[in-house]
Amino acid sequence: MIGRLAYGLAGLGGLLALLEAVPRLGLVDERFLPPASTVLGTLAGQLVTPELWIALGETMRGWALGLAIAFGAAVVAGVVIGITPGLRDLTGSTVEFLRPIPSVALVPLATLLFGPSLGSTLLLVVYAAFWQVLIQVLYGVAAVDAVAFDTARSYGLSAWSRVRHLVWPTALPYVMTGLRLAAAVAFILAVTAELVIGSPGLGAEIQVAQSSGAVSTVYALIVLAGLVGIGVNAAVRLLERRVLAWHPAVRSEVAA
């Protein structure tokens, strides 16, 4: 664990060094991409202002709520579609039709229904994150081993038991990937919704900073977004190590 942390920090250190060097060496203009040290300085300055924390709090609230709704709905829908014979083919085209519709295109609908409020953010976040989880769940449900499935059938496991004891554990690695994908997408959409609709939050802060030409602040806020991403991923990974301890991938990791 400590080892992993050290490697991770080394990786981030490398990124920082690169971001410091690129502007310093004049590869891109410093005015448009300030060196990492400047950006981190600005971020430090921002971090002491309460406004930033309030904005971050707003964003995280929309994120967490939206992610929870999307995840729950997608898991239920995915499992039902996945295990019900024929339903997958029946719903396939609808899913494929709706999926590529950009959340951004739903902005008019969102503002129409909810205005610049949490509701709009939620609509966009849920819409975008839902598909990510759904597709993963569908692939995960399809991965159930035939012999294991026959075992469950022959011992008379009920539909619910089959889902709980067989389908769900099999799909779990896929679902975890889905959760990681959706967590990022939900966060991105939470920020984008604020950017576009103007509901308060980190995105609105970025939007204001952009239209004010405050380059270093923009990058500071982007870095903050990235850091949140790292944190969220670390949390999901931790969860994964608990719930997937039996899985070959996690098993070998723990042993190594």
Partner: protein, 256 residues
């Protein structure tokens, strides 16, 4: 009890057509123990899967208590040839054995006894908390047997259940199955490669030809009902029956 009449099964896939079962007809009386032997690839597993209702028959039918089998009947236990894949890797050995009992709503107390008893019987009393992938091949196979035994089925289907265990363990397990069959009157269909085993265990031995498979002999084993590893196997009649089955299988293979 179990009637298999003119059962036929063809596997078809692009570029390959295998008539796994030509036409099989025989039946198993209530509380009878019938062994099935036949050359490798002759369709024994296929037969078992049709009987278990896991695979739709191509032609003919399987009836259990006079009712055509269309899906897995209740109170039936199966030990699969692919024992490794039939255990759930995310559960411990105990949980694997316990799951069908929970499904059957066996009271906790009784469940605990059944699980402990059956694990003890297959010699895995101290591996109850291990996961299947921490066990040797033979141990995994014994878990699958323990699961079937604990389930107290009315019909028991076993597909080469002792293939991965040593001679001594095998003898113990044979006696376990005999005990179970005698005490609970479990109707048992037992697929094996070991002719000695078939003669030792079975009240009847069904010999299958190589594919397209038919029954080439349905042999009544007229040994005394009380069987014992030492005395039964040293009876002259045992040797005769064994030799007879051996020659039949020779014939079965020669015919292909």
């Amino acid at each position: 009890m179990l009637e298999i009449s003119s059962l036929n099964k063809v596997y078809e896939s692009p570029g390959r057509r295998v008539e796994a079962i030509g036409s099989i007809t025989f039946d198993v009386g209530a509380g009878e123990l019938v062994c099935v032997v036949g050359p490798s690839g002759c369709g024994k597993t296929t037969l078992l899967r049709c009987v278990a209702g896991l695979l739709p028959a191509g032609g003919g039918e399987v009836r259990l208590d006079g009712v055509p089998v269309t899906g897995p009947p209740p109170r039936m236990a199966v030990v699969f040839q692919e024992y490794g894949r039939s255990l759930f890797p995310w559960m411990t050995v105990r949980q694997n054995v316990e799951l069908p009992l929970k499904e059957k709503r066996v009271p906790t107390e009784r469940r605990r006894d059944l699980v402990a008893g059956s694990l003890e019987a297959v010699g895995l009393g101290d591996a109850a908390d291990a996961h299947p992938w921490q066990l040797s091949g033979g141990m995994q196979q014994r878990v699958a047997i323990a699961r079937a035994v604990a389930y107290e089925p009315q019909v028991l289907l076993m597909d080469e259940p002792f293939a991965a265990v040593d001679a001594q363990t095998r003898a113990d397990l044979e006696d376990l199955i005999l005990r179970l069959w005698r005490d609970l009157g479990v109707t048992t269909l037992f697929v094996t490669h070991d002719i000695d085993e078939a003669v030792y265990l079975g009240q009847r031995v069904v010999v299958l030809s190589s594919s397209p498979t038919t029954v080439i002999e349905d042999l009544k084993i007229d040994l005394p009902p009380e069987r014992d590893q030492l005395t039964t196997r040293s009876l002259p009649r045992f040797g005769e029956l064994r030799g007879h089955v051996y020659r039949q299988i020779q014939r079965a293979r020669g015919e292909r």
